[in-house]
């Protein structure tokens, strides 16, 4: 029998339906894999073997009784620890929420359970999703499965590392400024940030509401499309959820890219982008051209203003969102038998939050404070309008835009963590899509010195069909060359 942990979600679903193996047998294969790699990798904050086994047995009972089975039957899924789960603690990678168990499930969690998926556990992340390397987690860093001395990217680093190393078949992450796409690129997996409003944010712990979306991580484009089909639907519990009929996104993958108009913005290959990364992406673009796509150079003149605009908006929203952590109703608290409200509140937040979270709350507070609001926050919102206009204009001519996901290769753990601005700069190519609200996907497209390079494809809002079609073409053109050969094989 083939080892189930080597399979994709599509294959696991088919095998469990056919009865090739049971959901429990499949799960054991993943749990064994986890035992082999987790000590080196540290992809998870919480794993619950007993709960997963119990769930697998329930699914097997349904299979035996011949009941209707869900679209993810038997598939072990990893969830970023920012997504609320009533059966698992949800820490957000922070001391502030250590031991916190939400009283409800996020909408995406109920979606997965309804389709008979198995939740393996909760994955490591940068504290409150603020980071590009998963090093700001209170619970320690996750390592890159391709090279254990290097970062897996962030902030959904645990979800990407677990998927790449085959601890889980697929995972969910969240993407506020690249937090799904960055670790997907650094770990050589597929990672999608959907159109703003396509996936419910109910139960996603808020960092910057106007920017973030939950998105899938997987090893194949098909699995990405399958997971998106499950989580993309209208949800009355999220006021920004788009009310459109759901799609079966897997249906878009068969079309080829003949005649697809691809824009290649020169700013995606500009200052700060490693030439070796650019070269790898250009080779992939040539392959797409060979398949009949029409690739044309273009320009997004306001692109370089995305990063400061993004950080000002994200930090401002964070300063407001994270004001809820008072340590009283939930969360970390010092003993407050004595001491007044302000003193206790301020001490809880000094001790409960790590340095990067405190930095962003304070800079956001500054950007919104009297005398600076117009100069920083309002200015950033106006620049956001200009960037959106640039992208709209590009999408009048092009179906998709292509460039690198990350300007640099995965770097060493500890290399950049003491220089906040240097880490922010890693996000230059992933934040514009969050400002605009359009979908973007990172897809593996090669290696430089054994370190993964991801290609980013961006489409107009709600054009996930074009995105997945182009991604599928890239995947097919690299058939078999991207199989995991990291530190654990």
């Amino acid at each position: 029998m083939v080892k189930p942990y080597l399979l994709t979600a599509r294959e696991v679903v088919a095998a469990v339906r056919r009865g090739d193996f049971t959901a429990e047998e499949c799960l054991h294969s993943f749990l064994d894999r986890t035992k082999t790699v987790e000590a080196d990798l540290h992809a998870f904050i919480t794993l619950k073997e007993d709960l997963a086994l119990q769930r697998a047995r329930e699914i097997d009972r349904k299979v035996r009784k011949g009941e209707a089975l869900g679209r993810l039957v038997g598939v072990p899924v990893a969830l970023k620890d920012i997504i609320c789960t009533k059966d698992f603690p949800t820490t957000c990678g922070s001391r502030m929420l250590e031991g916190f168990t939400p009283p409800y499930n996020a909408t995406v969690v109920d979606d997965l359970l309804k389709e008979d998926a198995i939740i393996l556990g909760k994955t490591n992340m940068d504290e409150f999703a603020m980071g590009t390397s998963t090093e700001t987690s209170y619970f320690g860093p996750t390592r890159n499965p391709w090279r254990l001395t290097h970062v897996p990217g962030g902030s959904s680093g645990g979800s990407a590392a677990a998927t790449a190393s085959k601890e889980a078949v697929v995972a969910l992450g969240s993407d506020t400024g690249g937090s799904v796409r960055c670790p997907a690129s650094f770990c050589s997996v597929v990672g999608l940030k959907p159109t703003y409003g396509l996936v419910s944010r109910y139960g996603l712990i808020a960092y910057a509401n106007s920017l973030e979306q939950i998105g899938p991580l997987s090893r194949t484009v098909y699995d990405c499309a399958l997971l998106l089909s499950v989580i993309a639907h209208h949800d009355p519990l999220d006021a920004t959820s788009i009310n459109l009929p759901p799609h079966t996104y897997t249906a878009f993958l068969d079309a080829d890219v003949d005649g697809v108009k691809i824009g290649v913005p020169r700013e995606f290959f500009g200052e700060g982008v490693d030439e070796r990364v650019s070269q790898t992406i250009r080779t992939s673009i040539d392959r797409l051209e060979g398949l009949g796509a029409v690739c044309v150079a273009c320009s997004l003149p306001t692109l370089k203003y995305s990063l400061p605009a993004y950080y000002l908006i994200a930090m401002s929203e964070a300063s407001s969102n994270l004001a809820r952590y008072d340590g009283v109703r939930y969360g970390y608290s010092v003993d407050y038998s004595t001491g007044d409200w302000n003193t206790v509140f301020s001490q809880n937040r000094r001790r409960g939050f790590g340095a990067e979270v405190r930095r962003r709350i304070m800079l956001g507070t500054y950007a919104l404070s009297s005398g600076y609001y117009d100069m920083y926050y309002l200015k950033a919102l106006k620049v956001r309008t200009l960037i959106t206009m640039d992208f709209k204009k590009a999408f009048k001519t092009f179906d998709v835009l292509i460039g690198p996901t990350m300007p640099v290769l995965p770097f060493k753990i500890g290399e950049k963590i003491h220089d906040p601005l240097a880490l922010y700069m890693c996000d230059i190519l992933t934040v514009p899509q969050n400002l605009v609200g359009c979908p973007a996907i990172s897809i593996p497209c090669g290696f430089v010195d054994g370190l993964p390079v991801g290609m980013q494809i961006t489409a107009a809002p709600l054009r996930e069909d074009l995105l997945l079609r182009a991604a599928s073409a890239v995947e097919k053109s690299l058939d078999g060359k991207m199989d995991f050969e990291g530190e654990f094989t």
């Binding site: 009283v328 939930y330 409200w341 937040r349 304070m362 507070t365 106006k382």
Partner: protein, 101 residues
């Protein structure tokens, strides 16, 4: 709008004020470090002043959405025990907060 050219540096005293506004207690060491880091970051943000935005409207985050209506019906919600289960301190079914006045 943006003061072009002259970068507005943030002082240690201002960092202390912002920390107080954000209700985050701050050590002397962090005050020095954050002041240095904030100046580097704010200086970089200054490139936004290159763009003329006088005639530009601020981005509306949810411009495409229309108001949704629903029937005003009672649905399941959290029980008191569920709502209190993560609290630091409770008393007679209430959250117990530090002294306010």
């Amino acid at each position: 709008m943006f003061m072009s050219g002259a970068v507005k540096k943030i002082s240690e005293k201002e960092v202390e004020h912002v920390a107080a506004l954000a209700r985050i207690d701050i050590s002397e060491e962090d005050k020095k470090l954050f002041t240095k880091q904030f100046n580097t970051i704010l200086e970089y943000f200054e490139i936004l002043s290159e763009l003329d935005t006088d005639a530009v409207a601020p981005f509306p985050p949810v411009s495409t959405l229309t108001t949704a209506f629903r029937a005003d019906t009672v649905k399941p919600s959290l029980t008191r025990d569920e709502a209190l289960k993560n609290a630091s301190k409770t008393e007679r079914g209430f959250f117990k907060a530090p002294k306010i006045v």
